[in-house]
Symmetry: D2
Subunit: 297 residues, 4 copies
């Protein structure tokens, strides 16, 4: 069992730490707001006063934070992870951040003698709890092999996809489909509903069809009722879409469905529902078709 | 076991007849080109000289043909199915045709004392062979209950979704997602590939992710190699998209991802690959990004 | 001066007849609702009881009606224009109808020994009154030369663009830009307004810029206040967009901006403002951005 | 006559300086590559060794450079314009840069006791030469009034649109229509051409129609033949589209036509014609429709 460190205890990060503890690992944690660590500390995790201290105490330090800026915040400066890394240590970023930043960070990690991997996940809290999460990993293969057993405690499907930055690129490439699939699904549900089929029935039939990706299966029912708390809200989804669109311009790949869907996420923000799960794309489209929903009454 | 009739023996129709024969039913068939019936006749099906004769000999007559025009062709006129129907008989159209035409046809069927159902399927030949097809049914519930046991021999998931026309509407509402999901998937694969990840690896990882609908799982690998014969070519896909767009205008539902994706199907036609499986959307997008593929070299 | 006939006395058709009368021509008219002819009859036009009678009395018979169906209605049947045509006569359709229908109609006109031209106009009532309308003409060049002097009384810019159907095609090819330019203009005005620039100022500056087409100059101010009566409402605009999109699919030309803009016209219909001038696209987009306007309060 | 300074002597900047000289002003100039100044120096302009020196010698210092980064480069550091400004001086940025950067820069200019205006132009070199350029100005009204007479020597239409940043916002809001109008125009030309109308004829008729903005009039003929040198290439156009899209997300304004058109500019880059005038959107769309042009043979 390994000495692990974990920075970033949001819903997803917290769930990952719990699985690592369950697997018998020692986990030292840090989070910007300490309360989020309480339940984990009771479950056996140890608290560190700074990200730097996490890295000092751990063989492998993980981060899972909101965006590129947050990655910079917890890695840089006198209290940052970089200051606590050294030869033989590994830093694994599970955040979805800019691939360019990931590559730059990997160089700074190498400069202090440590190794870095980017290891974003595909899936939600539910997927994680069901033990079905898949993890994509970018970085040196030997380092990957070393960290792999730990990652397998998080999710069973662990893929080495390429050098540093490749895994976040892959994550971005996948995530654009989340929003696009959701919007296309909503187009279909609304066609059915306005033609006289009950929304519940339409969702049921679509969830039994060939378009029912795990994402559609989890999120489709949200068009019947939004969850109490957003799993992944429009602003976070748009952050990922923007990363995709930037990458598309840089790599010269046109992204027609991504671009169009992103404008509907902007509409969600404009309509004041940007903090809802991005399944609210359904309600935005419904509003455009003259149909009021509970969310946009 | 019932006396059944089947008109339209394409890849899908032929497969359905085979399952009906396997289930012990008697099946009388007709097809515009007779050769397509040969194997089925060897397997026990009986030939009729006209669609009318099929209907005359059967309790339940099914059709599965290409489009609205083809439905009209096999149902109308002195040799058409309508001329062979009568009280107590049921006509089941499994084609994807215009909902308005379906409703009109249902009235004409009722006028001769018979009943009609629309019963399009969601899935491909593979889904059919795996016994996992789902069938949506529109029409009177009592008639649905009567035909249901026969439909369950085709696929296990049979849904009554509403009155006549509701099932083809549902089918169209689902099918728009096929093309949109394929294009979004292609956007992701190309981002990955142009960033340096191998196409095979990108596909493998995406097929293990939350966006992997059955459609993506079946068709995703086609971006590595197009199938010998198209499962569902661009022109057929565009036919369904057009039905969706017409319905959207009629019901006043904006369909942004459908509209954009449909223009890329037009590009596929313009580039001369309209007869390829619509997974060729990947190659069209690759061409736009300056990347030549085997298909569009 | 020629013996002319005119069928279809809407705002535009009526204005054209007035110019023909002003130029000294004799004009026999017919309209589905007779009241619309009253002012013209006072100004010297003559009434006929049927479209057929118009054609019988005239050397050149014009039509300007709403759509393909209306063209069929006034040309076919025992009271239709075709029944009144004969050798030496010319039939000129100024409607925006399907090019395929135009070509078919031209053949039927030829079959009775007469000639047909399609001659749609580019411009609005204002352009007409200012004597700045342009007219595109499709059909035989000799017939065009014969009718040209009469057309020049309507608008000074008369173009022969090709064989039958070419002019309506050209009209459709132009009209798609109307809606797209309007939506792009609206995107710009909203960006300016939400950044703190007054809407009036934004419109003023944009109307002095290189994007100020005559259409933008006429219609741009409608984002400040919709006209009492629509010049060209969303449903008529969408009819032309649909003709463009059908043509695009037939000719295999992708129409990305047309397709996207058309979905916003659908949203206008869905939001209940389909009978407003299509400048209401501004209000639809404003609504999507969370900004209420007078029209969509 | 005033002591003026000008930094940035591209095609447009050089043309502006020439008009200022013609109007009798003294103009001190600087450019990253000195050769571009040669003709202007012969015409009476004076050379300075650094942007700072330009600002030191001038009452009003203008810049017109490529993008936000270039504005930062010529204004910051020991040799930058800021270092040469002081009380009573005015700095006028005619570049199209990020509004946020403009506002920030205005504060830094105020901190040294000088005033700043943003004053981008709408129009091309041709518009400038014809003396028909319009100039939008953001910043304090009193400062605007002071600089106005000088600006009127450049173009006759000078608008005060709001506080600092308002003019570049306005410019971005206008420029998105350039690309969208060009793409919509191209859709129309291709429809006409593939239906059998000659491209030259289609362009001629469209240039006489209500969609013929000055931009369409100048650039429309480029679909017949690209200019030797791009007036405004795809990469520069995409830079402005990106500014618009960023602003749209920030201000929560959906930009559907901008988003879609921007992806076609990406395709232009991917196809290797990103350095052509953005009228090459026509050729990109033609390629997607299976039509080869001289540019994309």
């Amino acid at each position: 069992m390994a000495e692990l460190g974990y920075v970033g205890l949001g819903v997803m990060g917290g769930g990952v730490v719990r699985r690592l503890l369950d697997a018998g690992h020692t986990v030292t944690v840090w989070n910007r707001t300490r309360e989020k660590a309480d339940a984990l500390l009771e479950a056996g995790a140890r608290w560190a006063e700074t990200p730097r201290e996490v890295a000092e105490r751990s063989e492998i330090t993980f981060t899972m934070v909101t965006n590129t800026a947050a990655v910079k915040a917890v890695t840089s400066g006198p209290d940052g992870i970089l200051a606590g890394l050294g030869p033989g240590k590994v830093y694994v970023d599970m955040s979805t951040a800019s691939p360019a930043n990931t590559r730059e960070l990997a160089e700074r990690v190498a400069a202090v003698g440590a190794d870095m991997l980017d290891a974003p996940v595909s899936g939600s809290v539910i997927t994680l709890e069901q033990g079905k999460l898949s993890i994509m990993v970018g970085g040196d293969r030997a380092v990957f092999e070393r960290v792999k057993p730990v990652l397998e405690a998080i999710g069973p499907r662990v893929f080495h996809v390429g050098p540093n930055g490749a895994a976040v690129t892959m994550k971005i490439a996948i995530n654009l489909s989340l929003a696009v699939q959701m919007l296309a699904f909503s187009e279909g549900v609304l066609l059915a509903e306005k033609s006289g089929i009950e929304r519940e029935k339409a969702v049921e039939v679509m969830l039994a069809s060939v378009i029912a990706s795990p994402m559609v299966v989890y999120r489709g029912p949200f068009v019947l009722e939004q969850p109490e708390e957003a799993w992944f809200d429009c602003r976070m989804m748009q952050k990922d879409m923007n990363l995709a669109l930037e990458l598309g311009r840089e790599l010269e790949v046109p992204l027609p469905t991504t671009a169009v869907t992103n404008e509907l996420l902007t509409a969600a923000n404009g309509l004041g529902v940007g903090d809802k799960d991005f399944a609210v794309l359904f309600d935005v489209l419904a509003a455009m078709s003259g149909l009021k929903t509970e969310v946009l009454a």
